[in-house]
């Protein structure tokens, strides 16, 4: 990659040419510095010189490696099928317009709306269902801080006395909030149900898998329920966060193992998003056995229990269906970037080739200008 030449320097042991050593070895107490390669700064060294001639191959090699990678990434990204639907209900003609307008955190009866959509192509393999939020600053510094990891880890002391970081969602009416803090309080609580609408109008609900959406380490190490066999007992002295409809131990009525702090929807939400527009994994639609597409092309309806207000702060809510590859979700950027950079390197390689041709022979007869 760079010009390499190990300069053969004078070797370590021999006396330096400059130092005379006549008349014996001198007294032991001499202050003479040690004549070692290290102390005399004569360690053998590799001294690369970056010139067109020497770095040419590097540019071509980079180009030759990057362009295929880029193409591969681009193709992979294009093969990923992704479907996205905005169900915020901002526009009057949108099905969720009514729900969006009549929203209140405290309402006890959920507002339902149904969005119909059509998949042009069948989706194969495991399909990941995301909800996406826009203009939602989960990375606000004080918001990010507003949690108690100890409490979420099942620490009973923290359960009773949550960390002050949780303020003002730390205690409610004297009782500790579980889980405390602004993040938990703002838990995304829309319920999304997907059904396949056959041509005859009958709709078949599609099975959505709730488990496996959170990191394994989060589910098993980081998040733990407080000790006790019965969750409701364990949480008996706590109150639910203000915005929540149900206490933490009743988050998932269908699966008793998915309640409390180890509820995967909670875990996913607690992993605060890096950017104001983000998506979070909601459900997984597992691959069907045999050659049947997981989601065949056709009409679908998405039934939404519209609980989560975003319109007041110009937010958007989306539902995303996506297949997934080794490189994750659909993202053409990286492929294009690789192709571009590879091409630039290749181009630079050619430029350097010309330069080398023009100036290259000069380096052997270097002239030091005054």
């Amino acid at each position: 990659m760079m010009a390499s030449s190990y300069n053969a320097k004078e070797e370590v042991d021999g006396h330096h040419p400059g130092s005379s050593n006549h008349g014996g070895t001198g007294p032991i107490n001499s202050k003479k510095p040690d004549n070692t390669a290290f102390k005399q700064q004569r360690l053998p060294a590799w001294q690369p010189i970056l010139t067109a001639g020497t770095v040419l191959p590097a540019f071509f090699v980079i180009g030759l490696i990057f362009i295929p990678i880029g193409i591969g990434l681009y193709v992979t990204s294009n093969n990923i099928k992704e479907f996205e639907i905005d169900y915020t209900g901002a526009e009057p003609n949108s099905p969720c317009y009514v729900c969006a307008q009549n929203f209140s955190w405290n309402s006890t009866t959920p507002c339902f709306c149904t969005v119909n959509f059509t998949l042009q192509q069948p989706f194969e393999n495991n399909i990941y269902m995301y909800y996406g939020l826009s203009n939602f600053y989960q990375n606000h510094r004080r918001y990010v801080k507003s949690r108690d990891d100890k409490q979420l880890n099942g620490d009973s002391k923290a359960l009773e006395e949550p960390s002050s970081d949780c303020e003002p969602y730390r205690k409610s009416g004297g009782a500790p909030v579980a889980p405390c803090g602004a993040i938990a309080n703002s838990l995304f609580n829309d319920t999304l149900d997907l059904s396949y609408v056959e041509t005859n109008g009958t709709s078949t609900p599609i099975e959505l898998q709730k488990s496996g959406i959170a990191w394994w380490t989060d589910k098993h190490v980081k998040f733990k329920n407080p000790p006790g066999s019965n969750l409701s007992v364990a949480f008996q002295n706590t109150v639910k966060p203000v915005n929540w409809r149900r206490p933490v131990y009743e988050l998932d009525p269908s699966n008793p193992d998915n309640n409390g702090f180890i509820n995967e929807d909670l875990i996913v939400w607690m992993r605060t998003a890096a950017l104001p527009t983000f998506r979070k994994l909601y459900r997984i639609i597992p691959k069907k056995s045999g050659a049947v597409s997981t989601l065949p092309s056709g009409s679908y309806s998405l039934r939404i229990a519209y609980n989560y207000p975003v319109l007041s702060f110009d937010g958007r809510k989306r539902m995303i269906l996506s297949t997934i590859s080794w490189m994750g979700g659909k993202n053409p950027f990286l492929g294009i970037a690789y192709i571009t950079v590879g091409s630039i390197c290749f181009f630079l390689g050619i430029v350097l080739l010309i330069i080398n041709h023009k100036y290259g022979n000069r380096s052997s007869s270097a002239e030091i200008p005054n």
Partner: protein
Amino acid sequence: MTWRSPLALVRDALQGQRAREKELRSLTSNLPHEGQGRGTQPNRFFSSNAIKTTKYSLLFFIPMNLFEQFHRLANIYFVGLAILNFIPVVNAFQPEVALIPICVILSLTALKDAWEDFRRYQSDRRVNNMPCFIYSRKQKRFVERRWKDVRVGDFVKVVCNEIVPADLLLLYSSEPNGVCHIETANLDGETNLKQRTVVSGVCTTDRGFEPESFNSTVVCEKPNNNLNHFKCFVEKPNKEKLGAGIESLLLRGCTVRNTGHAVGFVVYAGHETKSMLNNGGSRSKRSKLERKLNIDVFFCVILLFTMCLVGSVGHYMWLESRTGSPPYLLPDSRSNSLASFHMFFTMIILLQILIPISLYLSIELVKIGQIFFIVNDIDLYDEETDSCMQCRALNITEDLGQIDYVFSDKTGTLTENKMVFRRCTIMGTEFPHKENAIRLAVLDEPESEEEIIFNQRPHSSQTAWSFEGEDAGPMDMHRRGQKKSKVVGTARSDVAFSSPLETEVVPDQNLVRQISRAESRGGSQRTDPYLDFFLALTICNTVVVSRATARRQRAGLSPCSSQTNNSFEALSDLVKKASLLIQRKSSRFRAQSQGPVIDSVRMESPADTNGLSPSVRPTAPAGSENLYYEAESPDEAALVHAARAYGFVLLARTPKNVSVRLPSGQVLDFEVLDVLTFDSNRKRMSVLVRHPITKECVLYTKGADFAIMELLGTPYAENLSKSHKNIASDTQRHLDGYAKEGFRTLCIAKKVVSEDEYRRWLVSRKSAQAAIEQKEQLIMDTAVQMETNLTLLGATGIEDRLQENVPDTTVALREAGIHVWVLTGDKLETAVNIGYACRLLEDEDLLISMSCKNKVTCTSSLDCNLEEMRRYSENPQNVGTIPNISLVIDGHTLAMVLSPDLQDRFVDLAKRCRTVLCCRMTPLQKSAVVKLVRDKLKVMTLAVGDGANDVNMIQAADVGVGISGQEGMQAVMASDFAISRFKHLKKLLLVHGHWCYTRLANMIIYFFYKNVAYVNLLFWYQFFCGFTGTAMIDYWLMIFFNLFFTSTPPIMFGIFDKDVSAEVLLGVPELYRTGQGKGEYNFLTFWISILDAFYQSLVGFFIPYWVYKDSDVDIFTFGTPLNTISLFTMLLHLSIEIKSWTVVHWIIMLGSVGLYFGVTLAYSAICVNCNPPSNAYWVLQSQMGDPMFYLVCTISTLVALLPRYTFHVLKNSISPSPLLQGRELDRMDPSTRDQWIREWRGFRGGGGGQVKRYQLSPPPSPTQETPVDFRPEFLNSAEATSDDFSLNVTTQRPVYT
């Protein structure tokens, strides 16, 4: 302990305060009060002899150390931020975590301080507990006590080879004549013996000193740090005042030598002693680079504020645009504007590392490393004196790489300062000493040829000797001895004054005849000018004679503290500031410790002085020939040795007496009436003696020619045929000839003082000596009174040989673009000659000589020369040709041109000159010139000198270099760097200076880049988190990133990187120019690197941003690739900058990467919820399991570095810098390289020579008395007249061998 009222205590304290502050102190003996309470002690107010150099006490270490550390602005900034973080409304991180960096830095510094302090404590304890003898009234004898028990007013006895515990007024010495010899090596490094005399008239009894009978009061001045002055008088009960000065003061830390024992009265103790007051700690200068650095730090502060302002305004706008009450916005009682105002401070905390606090610590570490390598350079080690390079200033190494002007002293710096007597002129007759010149020429030959030459030459010398009917023995003996001592000398170190080169003079036959004629005419009974001349040489000096039998035994010296084989210790020693009494021992006069060896040599050649003629053979036993002359100035030693060669042997010198053996064998004891010591204003010294036979008072004076010539009075003797006028003019002519040959000249004069005159003078002298106010001035005035109406005896020419490789060094410095100026006290002709000898002046150079009598001529001459030069450079024909103009100016003229109205013109003229020689300079003028050039031209100056007269100049220059030569250690003490030979300057500047500068400059640029690049990542993120000050990187990892992962590589870069090898740097000095002026670290490079940092951080942020946009990535998972990318970008950026990769580089670079992954992985695996807001747990692991992570990191790093890399490649290919070409040379194998350099040099030299050769039309001299002559012609004539042997000064060694 008796009880005393608090009031009394307060009164006592006030009294003490007053007593300490008084200009004069009256001290009385403690003995009458022995055993009484403290309150009655007369000297209780003065500090005791216990010393405490520690800064801290055990109890208060922490607060005091913190207080000390907070004197640094940087630390205050850091703590301020940490405190800011504790304010809930503005904090950015966990407040406790934010304390970590400052705590780490503070505690590291505190540890270092504590360790140093502990070392000081140990040393103090050792010193305080050293034994000494204090007189006790109860026991009626001196009892052994500890140093710390000594108090002012005590009587202390010191025995031979013991160290003086406090400043003692010498009252008694066991030696006859009340002399005490001391060695001041501990104080100033000078190892020659100095004589101190007892205060006369105090100790009147012969039976020894009885302290109890001492009832006088000692009145002395307030303690000061001047080692060479002390004002004091002893007031006897009968009000008689006895003056005493430094010559009666035994300084603390000196060692008593050659004296059985001495008793002194303690005048200053402990911290008030002169040696302690001189312990001023280490010098701290601020380097040019650091001054520039501070400006850039200021830019960083502006940048930081701008960014914070952007953050604050952005936050406000973001808040304003929030509608409704989004769930991510916590309820906040603050208004938006207040919140954004608070956000400003949060941003400062978040972006704080933009101010490179760790840079200062890193620079310190780098400099320690650089100094370690400079000190350990074997090429800067001098075998002869066994001394290595010393760095006394720890923080200006990089200034060595930016020097534009070098100001050099001549004597001892360019020359050896080993004086060799060459010629003399007596009564207007010159004695050329040809045989002596032959001997010196022979000595000059390489050793291998020595034998052959000796075999060839004896005939000529033998014939010369046989003229007197003498055998060739002395010469043979001398040769044998000389060879032997040469072998001995090289084994350890060369002998300073015992080497045959300086000590042995082959007498001139004519002169020998003259002397014998004079002796036979009646010898010492009559005053004969020839005898007087040699008597003056023998008497008029301060040479101390010691005999082989009385050779002092050196006490075990503490070894050189910087000399250790253990690199760690060496490093720590460098860190250590100057601490008491562990001062470096100079090895200047180490030669004397070789007594026994030299003795044996001497014994073989007892006839070296007595082989003149049978008639002058001394009758004294041969054993008395083992005399050693120890002189403060080498000239004196050379003159004494010369006189000895003619049979005038200085046998002994005491303050009261000088014994001289004449050639006839007769021993004369001269009573010394007074010594008018040398000072730089009078430029002469005199000794007033009473002639033992004629009983006349005779004043012998020697000094610079102009200092003597103007004082000449009546002719020597009427009976001489030549008139006095002729003698003076002949002598002057001879002197000019000597000067042209580069000899140092001294005039010898005498005066017979009448008894009346002497008595009258004595009265004023006594009163001057007892004076306290303006004592020096008064004493000088009395000296001037006496030195009038002198009679010229003759003059001597002493050769000071050039040091080895001086021409080579000056040529290399010149090629490196450094202007070399020589500032010397010598005559103009001497300076010019030396200038040619060391190739400061070349034959084809145009030489402007300015020597004006008055200011008007001076002005016109300046204008004239300037006009001529301007005309020349404006002439389009002369474009590209640089005239080599040299300026020679004398001190008198210089004093005029330094006046405010002329100095601009002078500087303008001087900067167009390649070399300036200033002669007849006083020390103050030297420093004035340095200051003028430094301030007017805004250039980096370096002053190099070896003597006390160079101290001003060394201190005035940006970099002061002291040469630990023959003239004591004052220059070294005042210097920043101490070398032992002038030639070391070449490697010090060209190699180490260049390296240190480029290393540090590049490291600093890199450091700024690194911090800006990293901080900007955080900054860009603010645009996506509503400017709320969120960090996407775990704070611990952020700290580790700066503290561990990326801190060592730049430090290593600053210590080890080697852009061009030493061989090439020495071979092609032109490469040095890269560091001069603005150098590599300038406005442009700084801002380019800042811009690059911005670009790289943009790439490092936005490529991952686009990759992870609208994905389910969480904050810290997003931050991990950013962190990794910046790690790789920074390390690879450094890799592009690193010029040579040694195994150290590889280890540190790979180690940093390994450490990053290791620590981060471990942290992510262990820390489940230890750092609450950030959930680093398993983040890196999950990322590393994702191929996207690697793809993102690869492309971001590559794109970030591509511009810099390409820029380097293109620049190197299209217009390579000189340094790059130097590196290309490096890659050739050594022989081809040398070949290439030689060819290139030859080509340039030939080409350049033609350009150089041009002639200016000689400017018309404005008046008759202003000779603006041109040296080349003058020199040619000088060369024609000089004999063959005088030219060995100018033998030029081939430059590149």
